[in-house]
Symmetry: D2
């Protein structure tokens, strides 16, 4: 069978030598890169390897990549570049002026969310505002910076190709806790206690460093009875900014307005059908008041997550979607404007992100976050968690669980901290 034959290296005329630094073995980067080379039709020779003797020591590998055509080689190099494999031939990055507004030159370098450096005049410089699926421009001070496609203006310098760019994917130090170890969702069959404690710990750590905690929330937070836990987290100082949509805000406000009718249903022990009228009447009331803040100030809206955001000066971005009823006055119906505002908040010192019960807003936020921001994603639907982690990166911990009990435990854990 041909597959067991040794490939004839003489067929593989396109060659490039790449190098990798960091925790490339225990972070699985080296194996991943070797896989990518083989699966895309290349072969490799490991030219040199220094393995860290102790767990904390970084490793180093020099890998010769061979392919049958230059096109295949380029594709391989592009792919493994995202995992931190940098061509050894050290050249400066190539910069090209944008030839039109709102689009990159064809050969633009497409970013990951990992720490990236660009070589300019022989010097490696960190890219600012690291964000995936962007290009890199050079700002007026000559510093490289991520730029979304839409923000490109004709004449702006844009980095093209992938020479002179290196991704520091293997730089994270020795893995020692949940956030370093997990590469797959925490199954619903695993004990949750430790997970909750780890997340509470990461939140405390972020706050201790004066970093902000971002909460991304879906309507199931309200449906499952989690409003009180979110308001407790706001009160305790563990939420500094909220991203959500029309639905979360509407159902939160609906619960505040129509408590009595829910009250009746609670008496009878019946999960009420979500009355389609109530949510529309809630939106109508807010629109009549001129928005959430005016409704709070006029004493119309008296409790709930959105209410507490207003009274605690927690900024929120309610991003619009095509399925919105109403929507609430505060919803930003233009999705690009919403993204811009989300981006502004994300870049303003966010150190931890809690995503609860929303695929749409979680993926939107994941697109904007640099890989160094820890993320915890909670959903009862394993598909949501998997989808996020597929698009996300090693910094995400996905937990398949019921939302309300999880939030209750998290608040209990966070309170402990406050008590101490």
């Amino acid at each position: 069978m041909p597959s067991s034959q040794k490939p004839d290296a003489s067929d593989y005329s396109a060659v490039e030598v790449v190098e990798l630094h960091g925790h490339i073995i225990d972070s699985l980067l080296l194996p991943k890169i070797l896989d990518e080379i083989l699966s895309r039709g290349g072969i490799y020779e490991l030219e040199h390897m220094d393995i860290g003797v102790l767990p904390n020591d970084p490793s180093y590998a020099k890998v010769k990549v061979l392919a049958k055509t230059t096109a295949i080689l380029e594709e391989i190099l592009e792919t493994i570049h995202d995992h931190g494999a940098t061509p050894i031939s050290q050249e400066d990055a190539t910069v090209e002026a944008a030839d039109m507004d709102g689009a990159f030159p064809e050969a633009f370098y497409s970013t990951t969310n990992h720490h990236t450096q660009v070589r300019i005049n022989g010097k490696w410089t960190d890219v600012q505002d690291q964000e995936m699926d962007c290009g890199i421009t050079m700002d007026t001070g000559g510093e490289p910076r991520c730029i979304p496609m839409l923000d490109v203006r004709k004449g702006l310098p844009i980095v093209v190709g992938h020479r002179g760019i290196r991704v520091r994917a293997g730089e994270t130090s020795q893995r020692k806790g949940l956030f370093e170890f997990m590469s797959s969702p925490v199954s619903s069959e695993k004990p949750k206690g430790v997970t909750v404690r780890e997340i509470a710990g990461a939140m405390r750590e972020a706050r201790a460093k004066n970093q902000k905690i971002l909460a991304v929330l879906g309507p199931a937070v309200v449906h499952t009875g989690g409003v009180e836990h979110l308001t407790a987290m706001i009160e305790l100082g563990f939420i500094q900014v909220i991203f959500a949509g029309n639905a979360l805000a509407t159902h939160d406000i609906e619960q505040s307005f129509f408590g009595t009718s829910l009250g009746i249903s609670m008496d009878k022990g019946l999960p009420t059908e979500e009355g389609h009228e109530h949510h529309l009447r809630a939106i109508n009331k807010i629109r009549r008041a001129g928005g959430i803040k005016p409704a709070v100030e006029k004493g119309i809206l008296k409790s709930g997550i959105m209410h507490d955001c207003v009274t605690h000066n927690i900024p929120y971005v309610l991003g619009g979607s095509v399925r919105d009823d109403g929507p609430l006055t505060d919803v930003i119906t233009d999705t690009i404007q919403a993204q811009e505002l989300m981006r502004k908040h994300v870049r303003d010192n966010v150190g931890f992100c809690l995503m609860v019960a929303t695929a749409l807003h979680s993926i939107a936020t994941g697109n904007l976050l640099p890989a160094r921001v820890k993320v915890a994603c909670i959903d009862i639907n394993p598909a949501t968690v998997t989808k996020l982690m597929d698009r996300g990166s090693t910094q995400t911990v996905g937990i398949v669980t019921d939302v309300e009990p999880f939030l209750r435990e998290l608040v209990t854990e966070l309170r402990k901290d406050v008590a101490v």
Copy 2:
């Protein structure tokens, strides 16, 4: 289009008049029966109808069923019979002697789990030991009784056909709580608090009537950290009998034996991979001791669900399965013997059944329970809950949630009761 034409009743020469009693409108029985008639190729005329004026008043309907052939009519009658539609022509049931061991006569009447009556000598008598998918025999005292296929012995009297048999499907009184209203699983998006309270209430009610509570448990009870909640329920007197498999018992015992190793992992905040050795060593230890009870008595097994079953005299049935490792000495490897023992327990005054995180044992138990026993089925996988409810009946409340937090809340709720 032909479907909009009025069917010509003269084509429908096979005719039978059936009647229905009870809460046939609000329990959806009448609509279901009319659906069945149409979908199986028949037509109907509603000959007479008395609707209860007040909610508690029973209703009555007389329906003429017409079909093109006797075969189709018979099939329709068989199907709607299970929903309580009894042919109006009152005849005694037909009884035939079994012609061989271990199988019914071809024409045997196949039971449902609803209250059923058989007409003998002009008198309607309740069927004893009501259980689905059985036949009906007449015991020595002349009373009708459900009998499994395997227990048939040559010569035993077996009820055949469906004349002289009536199913009291519409008899449940006015629906007024969770157990009466729910016909679909409690979604993971619904608040769980009320549900937990309803279940706790149903458990208290069963205990107040001196009925037994049966717990059917899967290994995720242990995996998710639920052991302490189960032992609390045993302690509080809310579990009188347990059905499970080798896995639940093994993991419970493994946790008791190898606490220290789990301890280390807890320190480090890491969900440990379930060591395949530990569960095998746990089984080996129990086999060496001669079983769970001897292991408890010799001081080898000191805690956990199985331990507490022994110390509190809670009987358990560990039903074998082809995927069992070991198995533990206490596992009944013959599935028919296990069923027999389960049947014996189910018939011994069980009034409530809590099914947690096991499709296999839950469906097995559901097969044995009469429709009057309330069932709560808890699983994080909606497919499991749906599958059980498809096979089960209106008495089952299915809850899609994470197991451990649910059990924690249930215990908190049950303790309240004890305090009062």
Copy 3:
């Protein structure tokens, strides 16, 4: 126990008599209404009932609703009104002038997606542009018409309260096929052949009536290899309009552009990781060309769903979302504008809607469709199907299955038709 006691009618001083017309028994409307009355704290008396003798005959019921307070009674009446229970006291609808832009008067009537009539000057008139979660205005000709909240302008007449409005929920004629019978998703355990045939039949029927077929598509259509099936359906004339998002269009275009790279992976039999660069490069290319249509005209985009939309003059709405990369030039980033355009298409003679693998756009479309438009929703995730059906109505058939094989079978079935 108090619950078994007969409620004392003298406590129930708030009274209203309602009536129901149509197929109220086999469509389960009457049972649902009785349930609602009881579960919201009311009681009822069935004052009069005429049951259709034959399956096609409509029925009639007169129900006295009693509650302890007027507030409870009003809530019950509001709820059951949506199911077609109209107060018997015939009054004209009340109309009030809007007191501000962009919001209804507090007491506005909130619409369902069912056929609705308004009583004006003693005459019942059909509401135009039926859509759920809207209000009703009177257009200049005096005809009632659904109006979204955002479109309200100060001074516009708005229907308030629920007197003089009736919902014809029970009007659908005798149920005789998949679309009439299904009230729960088609389980993944059921045979799919018949379902596919039924859907193909409904699509042929719509086309035979010159109605348009609307396809609502998620990116998994492309991921699973379904592009060729969609283009076949366009070719065969079974798609007249498409709703989707940036992702579907991008991945469709990416597949067209980077077929070679996918080709390589196919050779090696490896499901390639979705390269994050490719989709961004695809978007960039389209933006550089000035949009999808220019890219087709310039010969840049040569195949795929979006290409075929351009060459076959199939209009499409690409609704923006906060998670969009790029986005493509054609994406309508303002969600309200996108909704408006979707609404315009929906009202333009759409007779059938096929929703595939997208929760977001499917729910958005479901919000706009009147109940008379048949909908088939296909997704491998049961949660998506359930969520849509919860919000949708009896006209939706939900099918839990793998997308690509389903589409392949559907095309095979549709071709048969063409052959004949």
Copy 4:
């Protein structure tokens, strides 16, 4: 923070040097082992490392493992031993006589499903009948052999401890296709065509080597309409043995017996409710005939999977479960007997295993299969696939898809082969 401090090696007094051979980098074994050491409280030093220069070259690593106590060290060694890390100090295995029937000595070595060798008199010998969760005995010829716990008899020699035992986990050669690359389920969002081709290829390969193909089947094979595909596979010679339960066989037979009634429902385009009577009557008929084979011979059972097994001399094991109705005469109700028979078949030259729509029987079979047998597991429920892969090993390809369309494509692919 202490975690960033370098651990003081002097605290780590318990030391052992282990070595690893094979494809330890691209098979992720080395990273996994380093992880395990750290997560269980140890530290490591990489003493020596030879990395294969070319993809096919094996690698070698010598790792010093340090722990604070001997107990922790032992636990680490036990865990990493299963991944192929063997203590460098070469000693013979220790053998101890069993002290009782039906249980191992406390210190028994617990097997994995990987190729294992035992050192006896200085010579490494392959373990026969490799199977996970067993012990190792020495047969009369002095060869090591896996033995289930239940088969232990007092006095039998049993290997204890883990010295003198090595696991060849890293031996699989260069990964080059689906079966070598996949470590996670094939998502429902991935194209299935290639997957089907790979599986067909593996089945052809097994047949070309005269190996047997084992099919493990759940009832959804019948429910979804897959009977004809299975019988085609039997006809084409791609199934040599079947494992299933009472449900698969019963529903297959039910479909054969009651085709007409299904026929009617097909005419009307309605997915019929699975009649509970039909399956019971099917079982009864088979019991009356004396089993499946007699029923075929007497002309009672005329088609279906079970029928074709009889006419093609395909052996089957129907393993009993506590949820079985009836059961069929052929069901082996004792689960230990069923396991024994399954074990006998598995060891008789099975080279490929296809698991479809059953968690119970798939896990049972996975327990018995050595890691060298390729496995494809198909289920629409991702939880089932994940559960199997968690327990299984690198040889399993899990595919989340709808069963019937998958089987149809597989048969189409297998027929191509036959044509060529």
